[in-house]
Structures are given as C-alpha cells and as structure tokens.
Amino acid sequence: MLATVLKLIAGRLLTAIPILLIVSALLFCVLRLLPVDPAAMSLPPNATIDEVEAQRRDMGLDKPLPQQYLIWLGDALHGNFGRSIALRRDAGSLVAETLPATIQLALCAMVIAAILGVGGGLVLFRLRGTFFEPAADLVSVLLLSIPEFLWGLILLFVFGVALQLLPFTGEVAPGLPIPHVTGFLLLDSLLVGRVDVFLSACLHLILPAVALGLAFSPTIMRVLRSSLFDVYHEDYVAQARLRGVSEGRILLRHALKNASLPTLTLAGVQFGILFSGTLLIEVIYSYPGMGNLMVDAVRNADLPLIQAIGLTYCIVVLIINTVVDGLYVVLNPKLRVR
C-alpha cells in the first residue's frame, strides 16, 4: 500500500513540475515589467551612471528576458534566490527563517478549523428537520461569507481591544527571548526549557489561529453535513437502526466514518488556501512570518525577495495538494486496488 501511495505522490509531483515552471516564468515576467531598476535600487543613491551600468551587467539585466529567466531559474534550483535589495541579505535564508512561523500558524489554524468544522457539521446535521434548521442554515451562510481578513479584525477588536483578554501583536510578549533551534517557536521554547516563553507564545497564537480557523470551518461544516445526508440514504444506516443501534452511535460510528472522506478531500484543498490566508492574518497581528516579510518586500518593491516568497507559497500549496491526494488513497480502500 505504501508503494502505491508513494508512486501516486511521485506521479503528482511530476505533473506539478511543468505548472511550477510556468508559474515561476509568469512570476518573473510580471515583476520584470515593473518601472523600477533593480540595479539602481541595490546601489547607494550617489552611485554614478557607470556604476549602475556595471551593476546591471553584473546582475545580468542587460541580457534578453528569457535568458535572464534561465539564469534566475538555475540559481533558484541551487537554492540561491539572490539578495534582498532592502534588507541586504540572502533572500533564500530570509524565507527559511520565517517559513516555520507561518507553518506553525497554518497548522494550528487547520486543527481549529477541523474541530470547529466537524463539531459544527454534526450539530447542523442533528438540527435537520427541526424548528432551528432554517436559522442554523442562515447562520452557516453568514459565517461562510466572513473571510479571514474580517475574522482577524473582528477578533482583534473584541478580545484584544474591547475585552483586553488576549495579546494581539507579535509572537511573544515584549522582553522575552526568542530561542532559535528548529525555527518553530512552540517547539523551541520547550526544547530550551522556557515554559514562560511557551505559554506567552501560545497566548499570542490564539487569536491569529482562531481567526484563520474560523474562516475555514464553515466550508468543512457544510460539506460534512451534505455528505452525512448522502450517507444516511445508504442501506447500512437503515440496517443499523433495525438492529437497534442508538442514533448517536449510528452518527458517530457508522455515518461519520464514511462521510469523512469527501470532507477530508475538501479540507485538504482548504488547507492550501488556508496557508496563503496566513499572509493577511500575519499582517493584522504583526506576526513575524513569511506573510509579513512578503508585504514588506512588496512595499519596498524588493524584487528578489518577492520572487522567492511568491514561489515558496506556490510550492507549499502544490505540496499540500499532492500530500492530500496521497492521504486520500491511504484512507479510501476503494482506490487502493490496482
């Protein structure tokens, strides 16, 4: 079984390569259309025209666009994304430093989205045919219409500003040290034995993760509910009922198991979208991840950094979608037969 899954994942990754090539070419072309000169920007303002020209030749900007792209691609394959113009550091290592924080946020948000989505879906399903159904339905539509950007701001306002319950800026309280071992702050703080840092990091993660999770739970909720409806038309549900199995047990042991497959596929696709949703949440909560780095790079028109981060987002989303496909095969025995 493992071989099938690995083969499937490898196949999907192969089809992802042409997409990635086109995406990177598009990224490269769009940013080259900018009316800014990366050579002039990377030099001090008092540089002479000759110096700028020399820098242009040095950076390969005098060559035709396709050739520039191939040079950039070759460097990128070696992990060299060029130097950030504004921060004067290697763009690749800047991405590597901020990526763990973003992954940590995305994972926490996904867990919260799954819990809220499955719980909400079960509640929504149990309310079917009751007096509350239209109201619950309307609420779920309204929830579905609130994007992560608004959830982030609403939670910040309610719990951060109005009630002053939770912190809403940064990843730990100011003054606390930030240990660097793996880059994942929650893990690192425990590794170096700083429980106070760990607790502070947890508190700072609550609002961003819940905001992001809330934005994605309604979709899971609605898909779970509609798959539960489908499953309840199956004979084994009627049969279980005839055997005298309780309704709660039918729902949790029989129906939920089978309804979870379509939900999981969707949750996987959602995780890809959720990952890019971290960008806005990071900006709203000044959380030091890749999203904030991206927005700074965009404000400074820092081309190498924008390219590196843009490509990283695309790669991560493609990987997530591939892994979800593999997971689907692991969990669905019907797809395993070959």
């Binding site: 997409i19 990635l20 086109i22 995406v23 598009l26 990224l27 769009v30 940013l31 259309l33 900018l34 009316p35 539509v141 309204l142 579905l144 219409s145 609130i146 994007p147 950007f149 608004l150 701001l153 609403i154 910040l156 306002f157 951060g160 500003v161 109005a162 890809g272 979208i273 990952f275 890019s276 949703g277 960008l279 806005l280 900006v283 709203i284 991206m294 927005v295 965009v298 404000r299 028109a301 924008i306 843009g310 987002y313 695309c314 989303v317 493609l318």
Partner: protein
C-alpha cells in the same frame, strides 16, 4: 426568464437588495450625504470620539481619524470606492471568464484543453499572493485594483461556468439550433447563454462580495486605490495604529465591510436557492 421574478420574492434576496440599495445610495450621493470633504484635515481635532461619547464634537458625528479627517464622510466615500470596485471588477471578471468558459465548453477539444490548463496554472497561485504581485507590477490606483481583481478572479467564472456549458450544450435544442442553420455564435448567444445566465448572475453577486474584500485587503496593506481616495481598508490600517485611543475608528469600517459583504453573499445565496442552479464552488 420566469425564474427571476420568483427570485425577487425570496426574503433573502429582498433583504439583500435593500441593503445593497442603501450602500449604493451612499456611494452615488456621497457628495450630498457627507458632512465634510473626506480629505479635509483638521489637525486641531485628531482622533475625536463619536458625537455621543464624552468629548465628542457634533460637527464630526462619528469622530475623526489620526489626521483629523471626518470618519463619517470617509465611510460614505469609502462606500463609493467599494461599490465601484465591486461593480467593475466583477463585471470584468465575468466577461472574460464567461466568454472563455463558453468557448471552452461549447467547442471542446484542443481549445478546451488549452483554456483548462491556463486556469490550472492560474489557480496554482494563491489568490492573495497573485493580487499582491500584480499590484506591485501595476502600481496603486482604483483602475489598477479593478484590473488586478479581474486578472485574478476570471478563473472562478471560467471553471464553474464551463461545466455548466458542457451540460447545456448536450441538450437536443442546441443540436436542433445547429440543424436549423444557426452559426456557432448564434447558437451560443441565443441557446446556450440563456440557460447559463442564472448561474452567471449568482456568480456575479458572490464575486462582488469577494471584490469588496480584496479591495479592502489591498488598501489595508497600502497597495490599493492610493492615498487620495478614501477606502475602508485604509481606515482600518490607520485605526489599527491608534486602536486604544479610538476603538470606534476600527469598528466602523469593519462593520461597513461586514454589512456589504454579507449583503452580496445573502443575495448570491438567495439567488442560488431560487434559481436552483448547480453551484460547484462558492466563494473562497
């Protein structure tokens, strides 16, 4: 189309249209409704609370921002920006997306394959990232924001409508139209388009909600309509810095975006239910 009058009787659609009508009135008559010019700064009255709060000034009913600009006037003019973006961005995305979807679904074959792959590549960019990168390339401004949203979101229409066109094209009346000597163009416009129109209308109203949010996001980041045009996203970014001094300044634009987005989504949901169309993908 007998389905549309029926849709107008649905309570969701009526409430949503009422809300949108109010917001649209604010947008159209902003010049009459706003008590101040949205760009007028009064540095003697910065971060004033709303008039009902202690220390509030009745001439600034909802208070002032960090540059002493009237919050109410900026909210009203922000509605104009939001509605302009919602209208033109969703129409633009609809036109490009639906033309490609009809070509792709009607003709099939190589054209369908090429358009399908283009959509795949486009969608492998996370929308937020793509719109940010486009805004870097295009620069700030109202037209640029609309263009960026059109360039990002045409795929939404293309993908959903294509499958609908595929189904409609298989109908006998489409074949009959061809047999009667209709050209491909006539068949698409007179036979296929009327059948896909309900889905198209639903998608436009959902897209308007998305456009409002994207505009707010871009303005919040500082890559939106530009500093001289009032926008809700900018008001939020400004209020985020002075959140303890004047929480109202943060709450009001959030509320404005929330109501607008809810109205468009409620409209889309109501239309979807009454027009009974297959909707594979909704919203983001």
């Amino acid at each position: 189309m007998p389905a549309l009058p029926r849709a107008l009787c649905s309570p969701r659609v009526v409430i949503a249209l009422g809300m949108i009508f109010c917001i649209a009135c604010c947008a159209i008559f902003a010049g009459f409704l706003a008590p101040h010019d949205p760009g007028d700064q009064n540095l003697l009255a910065i971060l004033n609370p709303p008039a009902w709060d202690s220390g509030g000034d009745p001439s600034y009913p909802l208070g002032t921002d960090s540059l002493g600009r009237d919050v109410l006037s900026r909210l009203i003019y922000g509605a104009r920006t939001a509605m302009l973006v919602a209208l033109f961005a969703s129409l633009g995305a609809m036109i490009i997306g639906s033309i490609l979807a009809h070509i792709s679904g009607y003709f099939g074959g190589a054209v369908d394959w090429i358009i399908g792959r283009a959509v795949d590549v486009w969608m492998s960019f996370p929308p937020v990232i793509l719109s940010l990168i486009l805004m870097v390339g295009l620069g700030v401004g109202l037209g640029k924001v609309i263009l960026a949203i059109v360039l990002v979101d045409w795929t939404r229409f293309c993908r959903v409508l294509r499958s609908e066109v595929l189904v409609v094209t298989r109908n006998d009346y489409v074949a009959a139209a061809r047999l009667l000597g209709f050209t491909h163009w006539q068949t698409i416009v007179r036979e296929v388009l009327p059948a896909t129109l309900p889905l198209l209308i639903t998608l436009v109203s959902l897209e308007m909600a998305i456009a409002v949010v994207v505009e707010a996001i871009l303005s919040f980041i500082g890559l939106g309509v530009g500093p001289n045009q009032p926008a809700w996203g900018q008001m939020i970014a400004d209020a985020r810095q002075y959140v303890y001094q004047s929480p109202w300044n943060l709450l009001l634009p959030i509320l404005a975006i929330f109501l607008t987005v809810t109205a468009f989504n409620l409209l889309g949901d109501g239309l979807r239910r009454t027009l009974d169309v297959r909707l594979a993908e909704t919203g983001r």
